[in-house]
């Protein structure tokens, strides 16, 4: 299950160094054009959204922007995102420090367990808490549940950075007369800071764009406002405007993340940290580590199970409806995975082998979905489909397209590392042995990059299964996925009726996760 945690983090992993001599001559034009076309599809929602909002005119735009309601939603969003980011940063860093510096029993298991909250969609966690406490709502409830769900985004990269950080520096600082805390601050913190900031910004992005959790816990943020304005259907301009505000916030965060990524510099030195034996305080440390997994996984899952196993619930299960939802979820996710990988392939092939401004720009556009909240993509594609391709409106095609835009970055990330891991010299050798460029690609590069390509497809499939806001806006009438069924039951406080869908969602999402750990395992062996 822990494999689930990597998707958003994977793009941060350093790529293997690219072979010299190849990229200096630039990419072949046909590949550039193809990759640019593929990347352009990812830009459709944003471009259309901007076009749609500016259509109304600047004065009206400013007018709406200054409305009490819009300001309130924006303030709420920023407040929640900052509070969650801060608390995750603190809790995550402390957890990472405990995981890497304290000698605890079952160390490896503890690391796996602290990653678990990432496997639970935020709205499922919120649902689980509502089962126990139906009156939970507002800022503090949202802050708490969101924090425990997002903490691993900080814990995992910081723990990895701590394990890679040179221990020599801190020892030197200690011998020069610093106390343990000042030595940590002076020597180790600078080494792990990029990882911590990158993790914190992921948390920030997640809490900005989350819809299910805040809506279930009834805290009014921009995503909630967009959905409400859209639902009210008389004010679609306002929905578009709110979406634009949200996108601007998200892009600011992503720009910040990009900047923090560039600061990574490694210090050579031994990375074996002196592990401290905790003495009698070890239960305290373990309790600290378990806060997020218990609150983010155990409480919701036990709540879910308790509801599921009630006789009343079991009797009321509408099996055919459940099977239909499972089928729709799997079918949509599969279609999204295949198309996303096909679209990502040229971009990834380009980014893995060539450098330059144009290549970087194409890759960045492909990664746009990373910054776009699901509800924004959903809304913008509703407008786009209605205006540009009305015959496709209310078809699964538009929904699959939304998934492709949203999750293409995951496919690009893993396909790119898969291709980059294949040495360019193998391509040269096969050319010299009489293969045309396409034969060489097919028989050697694609064959060796296959695990990376499969991982990309599975990551997209998992994310698409759990996606809620865009699915709510774009699903054709009569088609329900597990996520939307869970959502509509919970919205009506029918927690018992929602339980089977929640359980099915957890189980169905586990299938690609298990496949994923299998592929990763064999890939590692090779």
């Amino acid at each position: 299950m822990t494999e689930l945690l990597s998707p958003p983090l994977e793009t941060d992993a350093p790529l293997p160094p690219r072979a010299p001599g190849r990229h200096r001559f630039g990419a072949p034009p046909w590949l550039l054009v193809l990759a640019a076309l593929c990347a352009a599809t990812a830009a459709i929602p944003l471009v259309y959204l901007v076009a749609r909002t500016t259509e109304a005119g600047l004065t009206e735009l400013l007018d709406t922007l200054m409305r009490q309601r819009v300001l309130q939603l924006t303030v709420n969003t920023v407040l929640l995102a900052s509070a969650v980011t801060l608390s995750c940063l603190l809790l995550g860093t402390v957890c990472a420090w405990v995981l890497t510096r304290i000698r605890l029993p079952l160390q490896r298991t503890l690391l796996l367990v602290s990653a678990l909250p990432l496997a639970v969609p935020s709205y499922l966690a919120a649902y689980g808490w509502l089962v126990w406490f139906p009156h939970l709502n507002g800022f503090w409830a949202s802050w708490f549940v969101m924090t425990v769900v997002c903490t691993p985004y900080v814990t995992l990269p910081v723990a990895a950075a701590l394990r890679g950080a040179s221990a020599d520096l801190e020892s030197v600082a200690r011998t020069l007369g610093r106390g343990p805390f000042r030595a940590f601050a002076a020597a180790t913190w600078p080494q792990i800071r990029p990882a911590a900031i990158a993790g914190a910004l992921l948390v920030c992005l997640y809490s900005l764009s989350d819809f299910g959790l805040v809506a279930m816990l009834r805290f009014q943020t921009l995503t909630w406002g967009i959905n409400a304005a859209y639902g009210a259907s008389f004010d679609r301009n306002q929905a578009a405007l709110l979406a634009l505000v949200l996108v601007v916030l998200a892009l600011v965060v992503v720009a910040g993340e990009r900047r923090s990524r560039r600061q990574v510099s490694s210090v050579p030195g031994r990375s074996t940290m002196p592990m401290r034996t905790p003495g009698r305080t070890w239960p305290g440390y373990i309790a600290l580590l378990l806060v997020a997994p218990i609150a983010g996984v155990v409480v919701p899952v036990v709540g879910l199970l308790s509801r599921l196993l009630e006789a009343e619930t079991l009797r009321a299960i509408d099996v055919s409806r459940l099977v239909e939802a499972i089928g729709a979820t799997l079918g949509l996710a599969l279609a999204a995975a295949v198309i996303a990988v096909l679209v990502a392939l040229p971009i990834a092939a380009l980014a893995a082998r060539y450098r330059g401004r144009l290549v970087a720009a194409i890759e960045a556009v492909g990664f746009l979905g990373h910054a776009l909240p699901g509800i924004v993509v959903g809304l913008s594609l509703v407008f786009f489909a209605l205006a540009a391709v009305p015959m496709f409106y209310q078809t699964s095609l538009v929904l699959v397209f939304a998934y492709v835009v949203l999750f293409m970055p995951r496919a690009i990330g893993s396909v790119r590392s898969g291709i980059a891991a294949v040495p360019t010299s193998l391509g040269d050798v096969s050319r010299m042995l009489g293969l045309s460029p396409f034969q060489a690609w097919w028989r050697v590069t694609a064959r060796l990059a296959l695990p990376g390509i499969a991982i990309g497809a599975l990551l997209v499939a998992i994310s698409a299964m759990k996606e809620l806001p865009a699915t709510l806006l774009l699903r054709p009438t009569g088609i329900s996925t597990l996520a939307t069924e869970l959502w509509s039951r919970t919205a009506l406080f029918e927690f018992g009726a929602a339980a089977p869908y929640a359980a099915a969602l957890v189980l169905v999402a586990m299938v690609p996760a298990v496949l994923l750990s299998g592929i990763r395992g064999t890939a590692r062996e090779n």
Binding site: G21, F25, S425, V429, S430, R431, N526
Partner: protein, 410 residues
Amino acid sequence: MGWVTIEALSVSYGDTRVLDDVSLHIPRGSLVAVLGPSGCGKTTLLRAVAGLLPVASGTITVGGRLVTGPGVLRAPEKRGMGWVPQDASLFPHLSVGENIGFGLPRTKQNDDLYCEPGETPGRVGGLLAGLTRRGRANRARPTSLLAGTAAHASPLAAVPISPDRGRQSSRAARIAELATLVGLTELVDRAPSQLSGGQAQRVSLARALAPRPDLILLDEPFAALDPLLRSALRTEVAALLRGQHNTSLIVTHDQEEALSLANFVAVMRGGKILQFGTPADVYERPVDPWVAGFVGDTVELDGQWRDDRVECALGSLPADWMGTASAPADGTPVLVLLRPEWLTLALPSTERQTDAVTTAIAYAGHDALVSFALPAGLIVRARVAAPDLPRIGDRLILGVRQNALAYPLG
């Protein structure tokens, strides 16, 4: 004209010119080494010959066929060249045998080696050897290359091969032949990850040789190996390439490798070829002091040119003028250059004035570099065979057994 002719070749990366007007003629069946420090453009030259990168100007012809020229850039796969990269670059998803056979034409039915039950691909060559007249002759007279496989031939060798397997068998036979050639018959079923560095490099060579290329290109093929293995393998590879009558172009930064392997050495610096000649030419008559220093140790002294001799700290020595213009006027200051092994030692006598004091010995087992202080205060180094080593403080007379080289100053 050579078998491979490179004329006025230039390659640029953006504004940087990496190869500048390079011309090189490679005679058929010879092994040419391109020797230069890292970054001198030698790998670029190899890649340009391979067709793996575009050139700014110049032509490359192989056996009279223009492969690179104005408006011509034949694709790498259509050049008929073999490529042995520095890191072996075996295909990790294919077995050793499949790697060797990668460049051989494949049959429609089966990509892999087809084998009868109980028969291993390595023995297919042996099978053939048992069936053909030549093979039987080889078996009787186990001196040729195929003898190794014939010795492995199983009792199954009597099973006749159906005619439709002819092409398949010839492919398998070629793989087995090459596996034998590089001494890896036992390893054809292994995965590349199970090979040592030297074995991997042999497979890489066998793979390049399999399609019988017109030219083999080797890009520092021994650089990644440890020193002991390196010298053993390179002798073996040189013998193998000569035995197959291959024309080969090898790139290296190791002067010992270049001098010991090649028929001809091209010394490169800054994208230009400074000297092309036999190893002895390049070592004993380097065109300038930089080439002299790059291919070996030198003794450098200031001197004056006087009537085909130079006057320097070692006395008046017979010398050859190495400048491009004709010999200079008497009294012109020149740079005198010797190799340490050209110096000889003798016990002091009264007629000769020049004597030297042994100041340091850099011992290397078989011989040593011995430093001598001359009366003028200069230090010169001589290579002395181990049995003749003086002791520190010994006074000796230095002689020179070969004409000194005189170069213009600056």
